[in-house]
Amino acid sequence: MNDNVTTFPDAPQPDAKQIKARTSVLKQGWRFAVLNLKMITMVNKGHH
């Protein structure tokens, strides 16, 4: 392996609970609604 190729061994890793939450339809349904609201707010701020 080339010396200039970096890996990121110290980077924080998600725990099992976080990984499960990423694919939970219930949790993600809620996050989807929040994400939409946040996006709409951001878009509205940018339109003059």
Partner: protein, 485 residues
């Protein structure tokens, strides 16, 4: 009767054309000139590049839409700009060369009262010897490129299945590239595809970038607000790389691409070589080849375009040190520095400076990302310019001038792998404002409520939704204008 000519039918030009047509009575003409016959939702080219979508799902023909809307369409390339007219044609006009099969090679002059330059970037593969689909690496910048790339990727996956180890190199093909978000997204799509095909263990995935740290994205990084405090985009991105076992070569300028190997220089001046079996490397961008002339036929290109080829607008282009860069340097109206009836929308305008700290190797090689030029601002600017022109046509100089400063708007980058509803994986990042404003938001320059990163299915659903929404909007289907840019 006023005639507005729009050069370019990408995100900015097409948005401007549709809004202008909607806002103006029929007696005013809206004319679009673009060399491509089809509109392309470029962000979804990533999915074409891994074989998850085909080109038909990300493109559609422009002519029927323009016919339905009453927009005049010329499938042609603008080559000359005569803002003061010329000896033979005194009104301002552009010269175009047709690219449609029916009129291939023919030239014409198109007169205008108002002109929008929305020609986007020239994909400057020539900046790096051997870069690009005509050389030794692949690209996903156009739907056609992405289709070729998917075939090459499938071949490499086939070799993995036969037991041959493969190295996948993805990233930036030059030290001054932008669009890191796209390369980052493609990396994760390739990695996901390798997992799905059951061959990930025999594959090495390496990201090569001109960013000096991961998560820079050409914006000097971001601080994401979260319920646990502020998370730097570097930590967020490194965590994603580590989780997926993707490695990186940082702060690299690719000098040349040979069959199966890139040669690069790092910020500390050292040189290196990385071998690959499959490489998708993005080109740097510059402005398209458009020559400007005055009424006497003198070449005035350097008065109206920056050395990068992008059009000079109402920005502060005076050279100053990084520490003195201000959000207010960035343009607001996108009006040309020379002509008050000409604007640049989308990628076509010249940014006043970078956002990432400019850095050079000891050999004098510039290794720093150019500012990101994303879709949302391109659409917002296209609409603002159309609104300004419509106001000018209806109310003369009393018409309201609309503004769309990138220091007052946000952007979103959603890196999503997979196209199914349950098996998609995505990381969404939003930033507000795009251009950091330290006076308004303190040292980070950004609103940490509006700048955040999110990982999960919800971000993937968002990406799929945006794909369908923006194609619906671009097809000018009923109530398209209610969908924001």
């Amino acid at each position: 009767m006023a005639r507005t000519v729009i050069m370019g039918a990408g995100i900015a030009g097409h948005t401007a054309a549709l809004h202008l047509r909607r806002m103006l009575p029929k007696e005013h003409e809206v004319v679009v000139v673009a060399p491509n016959s089809k509109w392309n939702w470029i962000p979804s080219n990533i999915w074409v590049g891994v074989g998850q979508m085909d080109t038909k799902q990300v493109t559609f023909p422009l002519a029927p839409i323009y016919k339905r809307k009453g927009i005049e369409f010329h499938q042609a390339l603008a080559t000359e700009w005569h803002g003061d007219g010329s000896a033979e044609l005194p009104r301002p006009h552009i010269t175009v060369k047709y690219t449609s099969p029916q009129r291939q090679g023919e030239t014409a002059h198109l007169e205008y009262d108002y002109l929008i330059n929305a020609t986007g970037p020239k994909l400057n593969f020539a900046a790096t010897p051997g870069l690009g689909p005509d050389g030794n690496s692949w690209s996903v910048c156009t739907a056609g490129h992405a289709e070729q790339t998917a075939k090459a990727l499938a071949e490499s996956i086939g070799k993995l299945k036969q037991g041959q180890p493969q190295t996948f190199l993805i990233g930036m093909g030059h030290g001054t590239c932008t669009c890191q978000g796209a390369a980052f997204e493609y990396t994760f799509n390739v990695e996901d595809q390798l997992v799905k095909e059951g061959v990930r263990d025999r594959a090495e995935v390496i990201y090569i970038t001109n960013e000096s740290s991961l998560g820079d994205f050409g914006m000097d990084g971001m601080n994401f607000g979260s319920k646990d405090g502020v998370v730097p985009s570097q930590m967020f991105t490194e965590s994603l790389f580590a989780e997926r076992g993707v490695k990186a070569i940082l702060a690299a300028h690719v000098e040349r691409v040979e069959p199966g190997a890139v040669h690069y220089e790092l910020l500390d001046g050292t040189k290196g070589e990385q071998r690959f079996d499959f490489a998708m490397l993005l080109p740097p961008f510059r402005g398209v080849d458009l020559t400007a002339y005055d009424a006497a036929g003198e070449d005035i290109t350097d008065q109206v375009f920056a050395p990068s080829g992008f059009m000079k607008v109402d920005a502060d282009y005076s050279p100053k040190p990084y520490e003195q860069w201000e959000a207010s340097d960035w343009p607001k109206t996108y009006q040309s520095v020379k002509y008050d009836n000409v604007w640049a929308a989308g990628i076509a305008f010249a940014p006043p400076h970078q956002m990432s700290r400019p850095q050079q190797s000891p050999n004098g090689t510039m290794i720093a990302p150019a500012p990101p030029r994303t879709g949302m601002p391109s659409g917002v600017i296209g609409r603002a310019v159309a609104q300004t022109i419509a106001e000018r046509i209806k109310h003369g100089s009393a018409g309201r001038v609309h503004t769309a400063s990138m220091a007052e708007m946000g952007a979103a980058c959603i890196a999503s792998a997979g196209t199914g509803w349950r098996d998609g994986k995505a990381a969404a990042m939003t930033v507000f404002p795009i251009i950091p404003d330290k006076r308004k938001y303190g040292e980070s320059g950004r609103d940490t409520q509006e700048t955040y990163g999110e990982i999960g299915l919800s971000a993937h659903w968002m990406k799929v939704m945006l794909h369908h929404l923006f194609i619906y909007k671009a097809k000018a289907r009923p109530f398209w204008y209610l969908i924001p840019e």
